[in-house]
Amino acid sequence: MSLGPHLLLALMEGTVAAFVLALTALGLALVFGVMRIVNVAHGEFFMLGAVLAWAFAHLIGSPALGFLVAIIASPIIVGGAALAIDRMILRRFNYQPEATIVATIGLLYIIQQLVLVFYGPDARSVEAPINFRIQLPWFGYSGYKVVVAGIAALLLLATWYGIARTKLGLVMRATQFDSETAQAFGIPVDRVYAAVFAIGAMLAAIAGVLIVPIKQAYYLMGLDPLLLSFIVVIIGGLGSLRGAIIAAFVIGISDGVISVFFSPNLSKILATLLVALVLVFRPEGLFGGKAR
């Protein structure tokens, strides 16, 4: 394959990865934006989504039906787990930022161990629910990857709509702006926090379900999306959803291109250097406002 088509392929791969990354990072940014906490176990919610997708595909047998069930049931299960974590752990110390980081690191280990026990140490693949190839003049491209980008785009739009246009979104934004005043105006801040934490986890879980026919489900697979999401939210500006999504596309696409032409490790190293550069010139990130 000559350079042109090769680059096109790399760009397409990068764009698909960027959509999935945007979805994952949006979950992290949303939780940080509203609750001011960093969820280090965010990557594990992604991994749980992938592992559950494998489980449903395996139980049901038919790839298409298994995928349909997984994309609805996995986020619900993961969201339920997130609600339980919120109530049993995070709320107890009132979302104190450092304690949350330590506790979610602990949860990262616990979730990994549980998956290791019940699912095992193997990386397992799932057959794609649809099986057509888009034939370009130079190469055929997996139709499923296009579907992934489409679903992710829909979900990004839906999240935007939910935040900008619905009552729940309004309540969330009010809590983000000033949680004490929101509480004084009768907004159940506790429940908003629980909902936001669950929605963040569900976004990661859906990303996991979408990725599993492309990559394999593996109990340590959560680390990469976590670190990439971190890179994305820092570049975009902590708490800025718009910044996170724009940064996800910059990082996702360049990651795809550099991974294809050089090495995946090099691309992560360069992305981290980019973070260092951004911090030198704009410590609050590209789209972050000053901390209030």
Binding site: F32, I105, G106, I110, Q113, L114, I234, I269, L279
Partner: protein
């Protein structure tokens, strides 16, 4: 202050004396474990300077441990440097590296600092894998016995190793003690308690935080260099996120902001993981459960809780 001062010296002196005497009674297996625990506790003390006394939560200290480890290990392996110079080089390299990281990372505050340190550390881990030809990546490099010879003493000899580890730990304890009793140390604690107010009093807090990070990185790197030379192995695992989290775990368990906290935490975790590994293969759930339980029930750790309840004088 005369009373508490005596008690403090007596306590730390007797802990060090106890560690010295233990080498004559410990069976060979635990003898080696204690050697490694003392080196790792030195790493913990380095970490504690940042989290415990300055209030900065880093999740990337493995990069400083690894900086010392690789600076010492690679110079011994490729340039046949003698162990003493290699150790000093490791500590200085980690100091310089930590200062450089600090210049960028300390531009962020709060949780961003934790994310950025974690990211930088992971980038270092990937760099080690990327320069596979020099570092041999995951597989690592084994240092020969001949290269680990200081005069007549061989670092392969358990007794030599144990006493050097003890000396390193004792120096770290002393340094930490001097630091927190100094004017600089008091400013650091003040930054932990209320950075804005310290700024308002006219202190350049960035410089103090940079100094704390550099010292913390140097102690962590010194521990890394010692680890490489004593155990003769340099590998990428030591730069992984797990090693950053271990330091956090030891310090929080022992009690952040206490001098002896890191060794209490390292000792307990070492044997807790060891003991559970015999029963099940599940060290992760132990590490995870300890972290969650600490945040829920013992946010101050063992010595921190003791200090609050009884021993007010504990440094």
């Amino acid at each position: 202050m005369r009373g508490p001062q005596h008690r403090v010296l007596a306590l730390h002196g007797s802990v060090l004396a106890l560690l010295f005497l233990l080498q004559f009674v410990l069976p060979a297996y635990h003898h080696t474990n204690f050697t490694s625990i003392m080196v790792l506790a030195t790493y913990g003390i380095g970490y504690n300077i940042l989290i415990g006394y300055t209030g900065l939560l880093s999740l990337g200290h493995a990069m400083f441990f690894a900086a010392g480890l690789y600076a010492a290990g690679l110079t011994v392996h490729y340039f046949n440097l003698d162990p003493v110079s290699a150790f000093l080089f490791g500590a200085v390299a980690a100091l310089a590296f930590a200062a450089a990281v600090g210049l960028v990372a300390l531009r962020t505050t709060g949780v961003s600092f934790m994310i950025v340190t974690m990211m930088f550390s992971q980038a270092c881990f990937l760099l080690i894998l990327y320069f596979n030809e020099v570092t041999r990546g995951d597989e690592g490099i084994v240092l020969t016995e001949a290269a680990r010879q200081i005069g007549d003493f061989s670092l392969v000899n358990p007794a030599v190793r144990y006493n050097l580890a003890l000396a390193l730990f004792a120096i770290a304890v002393a340094l930490c003690f001097i630091l927190i009793r100094s004017r600089v140390g008091r400013v650091l604690v003040a930054i932990r308690e209320n950075e804005e107010r310290v700024k308002m009093l006219g202190y350049h807090t960035f410089r103090y935080k940079l100094l704390a990070l550099a010292l913390s990185g140097m102690l962590s790197g010194a521990a890394g260099a010692a680890y490489a030379l004593m155990f003769g192995y340099v590998g990428a695992t030591f730069a992984s996120i797990e090693y950053s989290i271990y330091a956090l775990l030891w310090v929080l368990l022992g009690g952040s902001g206490t001098i002896l906290g890191p060794i209490v935490g390292a000792l307990l975790m070492f044997y807790l993981v060891e003991w559970t590994s015999e029963v099940t293969e599940s060290y992760r759930i132990v590490v995870g459960a300890v972290l969650v339980l600490l945040t829920l029930f013992f946010p101050k750790g063992i010595l921190g809780t003791l200090r609050e309840k009884r021993l007010r004088w504990l440094p």
